[in-house]
Symmetry: C2
Amino acid sequence: MRSGLFLKHRSVRDADPEDQRAFDAAFTETRHLAPRQRAVARGEPLDRALLLLDGLVARVMDDQKGERQIVGLHVPGDFVDLHGFPLGYIDHDVIAMTAVTVAMMPHAHLRRLVATRPALTTALWASTLLDAATHREWIFRIGRLDAAGRISHMFCELEARLRAVGLSDGRRFALALSQIDIAQACGLTPVHVNRTLRSLREDGLLLFRNGEAELLDAERLRQIAEFNPLYLYLDSASLAAAGD
Amino acid sequence: MRSGLFLKHRSVRDADPEDQRAFDAAFTETRHLAPRQRAVARGEPLDRALLLLDGLVARVMDDQKGERQIVGLHVPGDFVDLHGFPLGYIDHDVIAMTAVTVAMMPHAHLRRLVATRPALTTALWASTLLDAATHREWIFRIGRLDAAGRISHMFCELEARLRAVGLSDGRRFALALSQIDIAQACGLTPVHVNRTLRSLREDGLLLFRNGEAELLDAERLRQIAEFNPLYLYLDSASLAAAGD
DNA sequence: CGGACTCTTGAAATTATTCAATCGGGGTGG
DNA sequence: CCACCCCGATTGAATAATTTCAAGAGTCCG
């Protein structure tokens, strides 16, 4: 079980080995999803939570004209619908952006953990609050940054989060998203994303092509993005590496 | 103690009277803050959570040029920094927008509740996830709506939330915010907020003046805001009233 | 090979920002 | 008590950022 990715390199990780065992034991089956397949539907009553083991997943909200806003992105080690445990359902759709593997934890098991393992409960709770912190940062990103800043910020964040789970070397990483996806996440049009990516590339800041990203000048990129990884609640070692 | 406002008219409220008593007993003192006073500083280690009893509070993030993005607004009955309990600190500032009264719950008491009261723990957890759901809706608001839509959405949301705690009659409500505050919440400039408010007023949709808001045509307002209160997790009675 | 989808670029239109100036109310010091 | 000052609200004009519309090129897949 790759559940060891959960809260990996996050400062709020639960260190108790007993809790770790109880956590691992609470998963039942593993499931695979195809790219663009919906994992969770908005409003649907939920009885299990999904931990992402492999692939990329997005939280999405569609407007009346069918235009989509991506309101969250998830990397391996993230629960994608744990919010549905205390709330009963979630208010948005969750879809696989790539081929995806998830592990299932029934709400019944979660209830048992909450009733018996306070430290683990707090860690699970904290993991959902990392989502909230990331949402806040996205509000800042979209509300206060221009196109170059938003896109830079998105890549800085994904690099840091992927690195925390061993999926980036600090410079290059696989990222199977289209420019359309980036537009939907950054509140921009695909056309403008395209132009802005070209400009970032020509300025020697960022390369994004064929599902692979490379931070050519991470320092300047973080500057444009006003990126400060405090909101990721990384452990001290990772925080230093994130260049804060 | 007005802690009865907590999760009032929300579907995730904890109904157990024992839990209610334990909840009320976990508060210590009550404190008052002046308008614009900072309640919680970003990164500061926290040892208590604050429940807002009276007034308006904002979660804010400032960019490098000192421009401010409001990433959350809170009404009475909301915890304003409960995220700091599982996380240890919060990643943003919390400031009073008006004169404010808060009740303090020490983290030590919260730890005891988490260790002994699973249903209450889940309700506290859920309350922080309502914040996350609201954050997501704000991402959608700023990412996909134009100025009129953003502002309309903000007023629809505040009306619904204030009504849930008895501070709106469904049409008029006190809202001690400036146009500058609205701009900082909606990712717009104050000038453009002013023009857009004028246009909404001239179209007979929304009146906002002297700290008082009135939804002149709630139906059309919800339409241009694409407002759907599902994300507020209101109880069924309130949801019907919110016009969904 | 055809079709669907993404990427790319140009040009025009629109939305929002910036700069600048005025107005008005509330509070303060003389 | 009143002139003055500060801040928010308001409006106009110019500018900048982003979107929209349109079209062509590249790529993958059946």
